[in-house]
């Protein structure tokens, strides 16, 4: 009986040793990971200088419609009458008819300011983030239209699906306090 008891205590002690060892290992892994400097978790954003408007932002986001939308850096815009973001290259006439527009959903608003200038703005609810307008504006215009992850929509996935699919590695984590990479303020 005595002997049995002692065997039990010895087993219990060994079990506690193993348990404590495993616990220490888990804590060490987590601690080592957390010990390196990490400025908060950060949120995902597109560097517009790297984006090549491949179209995956529209299709790869885990949200449908995508959390990526076109934004307009007005400060860079030339207020062109012939906007390369707004009009298709083979537009027959420079008017608001849908068949002349680049945007498949008609998400770009065109407002007359004064001759010959027009102001363009994005109706975010309609934009799908396809980047067609961005491509036109970047290739032939001032590049004032660009894509950004909108943080009222983005759920900040642990691993952004678009970031993993982006051919240009344009996605980075930025601080949650200033979560945009606005082209007009980037050099």
């Amino acid at each position: 009986m005595e002997q049995g008891d002692r065997r039990m205590t010895r087993r219990a002690a060994a079990a506690w040793l193993l348990r404590a060892g495993t616990g220490a290992l888990v804590a060490a892994l987590a601690g080592r990971a957390a010990s390196r400097p990490a400025p908060g978790r950060g949120v995902w954003q597109i560097d517009p200088r790297k984006c090549i408007q491949c179209g995956r932002c529209e299709t790869e986001c885990v949200l449908q419609p995508s959390a990526v939308k076109c934004v307009h850096g007005y400060a860079m815009c030339g207020y062109c009458k012939l906007c390369f973001g707004y009009f298709l290259p083979d537009a027959a006439r420079l008017d608001e008819a849908a068949e002349n527009q680049t945007c498949p959903t008609g998400a770009i608003r065109r407002k007359f300011i004064e001759d010959p200038y027009f102001e363009y703005s994005i109706e975010e609810g309609l934009c799908t983030g396809c980047g067609l307008c961005v491509k036109g504006c970047t290739n032939f215009g001032n590049g004032s239209l660009y894509l950004q992850v909108r943080h009222d929509r983005c759920v900040n996935c642990n691993a952004c699906r678009i970031a993993e699919a982006c051919p240009a590695q344009a996605f980075t984590r930025v601080s949650a306090a200033s979560p945009y990479l606005l082209k007009e303020t980037l050099s």
Binding site: T22, A30, A33, A38, V62, H72, Y74, N142
Partner: protein, 431 residues
Amino acid sequence: MSVVRVFCLLLALGPAWASAESRFPQPQFDSGHVVPQAAHPPSSLEHVPPLADTLALVLALAVAALLVHRVRSRRWLLVFTAGCLLWFGFLKRGCVCPVGVVQNVAEAVWAGGGLAWPVAALFALPLLAALLGGRLFCAAVCPLGAVQELVIIRPLRVPRALDAVLRLVPLAVLAFGTVLAVNGAGYWICRTDPFVGLFRCSAPLPMLLAGMAVVLLGMVVARPYCRYFCPYGVLLEVCARLAWRRVEITGSTCVNCRLCVGVCPVGAVAAPREALNEAARSRQFGHFLRILAVMPLLVAGGAGAGWLAGAALARAHPQVALAARLAAQGPATAAEAEAEGPAEAEAAPEIQAFRRSGRDRAEVASLSAALVLSFRRGSAWAGACIGLVVALRLLGLTRLSALSVHEADRVRCVACGRCFPACPKNRRPTA
């Protein structure tokens, strides 16, 4: 030819092509029009103090421990499971969760870079809880587990052999998922999470269909993701094996009525086994020695297979894929590079981005070669680990000790509590 096209052509030919920005300087408006500023919604992340999230997890694990070990009530566990599903699943949108954080931790530990401590805590807390009280996280807290728990209708018994084979999958997912994450090929464990689209209430179609399929399967095979895919489950199992307090089916003494065996959806109730007689004992011991002898072979075989699989795994890395694309194109001569201009529109986006980046092919090729080597090394380690665990599992089969009662298997039991009301000894005697 339309006006616009002519204009485009002129523009493309003209010197404006060289300078990308400000081809058309912003006008001075006579009407005094003020250039607006686009509004950018702030990140909702700022408003969530991470400390509160960590505390919520600690609290949830503590409540689960209370319900499993003290209150021992299936009904309350069910209510709590639904509550946790609402909070961690739908309100917190199921991301970031401990299952995926395995990758963040592995990446931070082996590839450098840091991790915010609340995320690291997410990894450690459920494991530490498992060391104390079994798989409490799986019992109610994990939103993935909760979805599956709530859809179980008529669980089938998975044949032992099939079960043993399928239980290798989580091991492989953990091992290779870690290799992919550490080497920068993306978070595949997140990509294969079947339910996160449900929590976000939005998902691309393939993800949605996969999630639905797992839910349907989960009606007849209890917790299919937990048992046969979840990589974090592997770690939880290791910790639960060493748990200080195991899940007790009965509050008093087991009378071997077998009523608990039928209700356990995951086949976790271990039935009594006879003490072995001398002959059987020595036969079992012989098995043990033989498995011990082939153990190095299993580990080495795993490592070798991992090394071979490493090259295929590496293709998941964008730079390796890019190098393969470039190689498939054949060597680029100066003339070809010249001719690449007009083909721009047709080239794959990866190639377009590569051209624009101004990197040269040799650089990509050498980076890719280094990556393949690193993938090979990593997956050799992964293979060795799988081999080791397989050997240990085989060793575990050659058990000598007898068992006189029914008890919950430490490893498989997810502490769902179904067996509590099933046990007649748990019912309060009616006066």
